[in-house]
């Protein structure tokens, strides 16, 4: 049994001040002037209370790439960023394309205890794009997989994509597509535009993303399936999703924090920390994805947290790995790009970073309101803090963050997962076995 927690004076979704009482893994009560005998009382005066953040797009690297990240280190990074659940992408080694591997991933998450780890299954065997993986076996495994993706690779073959979309209807699954035409992006290094022209880097054209999204929308409409578009990055993609939703196609879309804030101009010094796939785009694209997120065209923010060891970034741009870590910085970047600009309020943030991703991924026990009787999954955020993002803010195994040295607002101070504290006044909790209920999972 975990200890009772009483948070005093938190602003629920940034609005009314209230106390939050946590008992036995659930929120027992929310209201003013609460008291509870034996509860640990925590001063949360003025902190914004948000439901625990849910990341639909995380790379945890384990099994296979433990030099970059492990499930433990990755979920510690998640807790530090206010997340209580992460969806783990299947591009591990071995690829998570079978019931065995997704169950292993799930078990690693349970053992770590810092956040719920919900495995995503590969669409095709080995993510090779050739034949469907055993999607049904993964769906009915203990990992209960509902999201399938070959992320890192596009399910390019239109027939395979059609079949995948159709097949997962049997268990209300969704295909999360990494939209990238492989032929149009051979050797691609950076957004195709003025900057790539000057730097002499092979361009990654917007059309390579948009043509796949357009095709997939039409396929999803044709077969009546759910489609989720990963890390949408261009103004044209926003237009396509807007059009699809107007037509009533069951499509959802995500944008990463970095595509909400950063542009390809940052590549000018050839600093590979800014190399990511899809690439950073132009200011026009940044404004378009912000608008799309604000008006609901884009449903969620997902980090695409992609850890890499330093030697994969401390090299020539062309030789460097794609990807950025993002769990610890996500909320602060959304704060800066969406809240401080007046495009979203904290209720919207709770939707795009918690309830909507949990709903898209069919993950129970997360994304629920901060209200009596709900699972105790929430985070407390000091929205008035300001600070330079530093390596000390990173808690995973890798430091390939594009925000190092940059001013970001806010600070995540507390994260509560399954009713126990994973982040304690800005410091990661040391989760001894005793504090982690065996098999704790909603």
């Amino acid at each position: 049994m975990t200890e009772s927690l009483l948070f005093r004076g938190a602003k629920i979704l940034g609005a009314d001040s209230a106390d939050i009482l946590v008992q036995d893994g659930r929120i027992a009560e929310v209201g003013s002037g609460l008291s509870a005998a034996g509860a640990r009382v925590i001063d949360a005066d003025g902190l914004v209370a948000l439901p625990g953040l849910v990341d639909l797009h995380t790379h945890l690297r384990e099994p296979g790439y433990e030099a970059s990240e492990t499930v433990l280190s990755g979920t510690r990074a998640a807790a530090a960023g206010g997340f209580t659940a992460v969806f783990a992408m299947p591009n591990t080694s071995p690829v998570a394309d079978s019931a065995g591997v997704v169950e292993q991933e799930l078990a690693l998450g349970e053992a770590a205890g810092y956040a719920t780890v919900q495995p995503i299954g590969a669409v095709t065997v080995g993510q090779k794009g050739e034949r469907l993986a055993e999607l049904g076996a993964m769906a009915s495994s203990r990992a209960n997989v509902r999201v399938f993706s070959d992320d890192g690779f596009c399910v390019w073959d239109p027939l395979i994509m059609r079949r995948a979309l159709e097949y997962v209807k049997a268990f209300d699954g969704v295909i999360a597509q990494h939209a990238q035409d492989p032929r149009l992006t051979e050797g691609a290094q950076l957004n195709e535009g003025a900057v790539s022209a000057e730097l002499g880097l092979t361009g990654w054209p917007a059309v390579a993303e948009e043509s796949i999204i357009a095709r997939d929308i039409l396929l999803a409409e044709h077969v009546g399936s759910r489609l989720h578009v990963c890390h949408l990055s261009t103004a044209g993609s926003v237009e396509l999703i807007r059009w699809a939703k107007k037509r009533g196609v069951a499509v959802t879309a995500e944008v990463t924090p970095h595509h909400l804030l950063l542009t390809d101009e940052l590549a000018r010094g050839y600093d590979a920390r800014f190399k990511v796939n899809p690439p950073l785009r132009t200011q026009e694209d940044v404004l378009a994805v912000r608008e799309g997120l604000a008006d609901g065209t884009i449903d969620i923010v997902a980090t695409d947290h992609a850890p890499h060891p330093s030697e994969a970034k401390a090299c020539e741009w062309q030789a460097a790995a794609n990807g950025m870590v993002g769990l610890e910085s996500a909320l602060r970047v959304v704060h800066q790009s969406m809240v401080q600009t007046g495009l979203l309020d904290w209720t919207d943030v709770a939707r795009v970073m918690s309830s909507a991703p949990a709903r898209i991924g069919s993950l129970g026990g997360h994304g629920t309101p901060i209200a009596a009787g709900q699972p105790a999954e929430f985070t407390l955020y000091d929205a008035d803090a300001v600070g330079v993002f530093a390596e000390s803010d990173l808690h995973g195994q890798s430091t390939n963050s594009p925000y190092l040295g940059r001013d970001l607002p806010g600070k995540v101070l507390w994260t509560v997962h399954h009713g126990y504290v994973t982040l304690e006044d800005g410091v990661l909790a040391d989760l001894g076995e005793s504090r982690r209920p065996a098999g704790a999972r909603s």
Binding site: Q189, G193, G200, L201, C315, A319
Partner: protein
């Protein structure tokens, strides 16, 4: 000058300084003894991750004529996955005591990464990086244009009003990029003539005009026509249908050559594909500056190495003006 990485950020005064010092260097090269003591005791490493005999021997000649010690380092492999990393190579050169590193690399931006990473304290000269820049090539091209136009009266002059047409595969050409920036910095008007498949998709920010029609560009009677080398592997990537079609539309053949005004010069960075982008008539004509470019390349690279190694970097063990500079000033006096 700390490094020479690109012409995009090279200020006009710095470019002019290099060209004018190259004039001084060229003067010394007509003497019986070509060797100057200027960089005695300095070590220049030619770090080539890509085969390029021409550029390498040009830098080698430049460094040796300034009495520097030259180490040629042909490195294979350029990524973390194959061979030694750039970082380890750089730190090895640092440990050897390199004062300047001349780097040729297949990855765009590698010289900048080398110069800004903190791995090495040596000055870095970009000798061609991927499809980014080749600044000393552009400098020697500018020098050549100026020399043909103004002869012995070149010093202090820029290229105002000079019209230059650059023809060929701009997309993959570091020579084209460096020339676009440098020639426009020096006041020239640049026109790029390329197949639409071989120019970056967005060049709206470039100080150059783009045409697809070579005959239209030549009809304007430019002062210089610079032909870029076509790499045959481009053909297999469907950038153009065939060599013959390319030569017909964008090659400087004998007929096109004859239509040029008498004082228009024909340039090529080499090595040439005779019969493809340039005909033998053009390559061997009196307008051709191909060999002058090679000769001038040594002078321009001497100037660049001089500015990097003897010009402005204070020697911790020598007070005031470095001895190297004084030696060079003495040499200037007797020209």
């Amino acid at each position: 000058m700390r490094h020479l990485l690109d012409t995009r950020t090279l200020a006009r005064e710095d470019a002019m300084r290099i060209l004018d010092i190259a004039e001084d260097m060229a003067d010394t090269q007509s003497r019986e003894v070509k060797k100057l003591p200027t960089l005695r005791g300095k070590t220049v490493v030619n770090l080539f991750f890509e085969d390029s005999t021409r550029t390498r021997i040009s830098f080698e000649a430049a460094a040796k004529r300034l009495s520097a010690d030259v180490i040629n380092f042909a490195a294979k492999g350029s990524s973390v996955s194959k061979g030694e990393s750039l970082k380890d190579t750089a730190q090895t050169l640092e440990a050897i005591g390199a004062d300047a590193v001349v780097v040729r690399h297949p990855a765009s931006g590698a010289p900048r990464t080398l110069a800004t990473s903190g791995w090495i304290s040596a000055g870095v000269v970009n000798a061609g990086d991927g499809t980014h820049e080749h600044p000393t090539q552009a400098l020697l091209d500018a020098y050549t244009i100026r020399k043909r136009r103004f002869g012995a009266d070149s010093r202090g002059r820029d290229l105002s009003g000079v019209r230059v047409v650059i023809v060929g595969d701009v997309l993959h050409s570091r020579v084209a990029r460096s020339n676009v920036w440098l020639l426009s910095t020096l006041g020239a008007e640049v026109t790029l003539v390329t197949p639409p498949t071989l120019i970056p998709q967005d060049v709206t920010a470039w100080p150059a005009r783009v045409l697809y029609d070579l005959d239209a560009a030549l009809a304007e009677e430019p002062d210089a026509v610079m032909m870029l080398r076509i790499q045959l592997e481009r053909m297999h990537a469907a950038f153009f249908p065939s060599e013959r079609e390319y030569a017909r539309r964008w090659g400087l053949d004998a007929a096109r050559l004859r239509r040029l005004p008498d004082d228009t010069i024909v340039m090529h960075p080499g090595p040439m594909n005779r019969g493809l982008e340039i005909s033998s008539e053009a390559a061997d004509s009196a307008r051709s500056t191909v060999l002058e470019q090679v000769t001038n390349g040594v002078s321009v690279r001497m100037a660049a190495l001089y500015l990097l190694l003897a010009g402005e970097r204070p020697e911790p063990d020598r007070a005031g003006t470095s001895a190297a500079t004084e030696e060079f000033e003495m040499n200037r006096g007797d020209r």
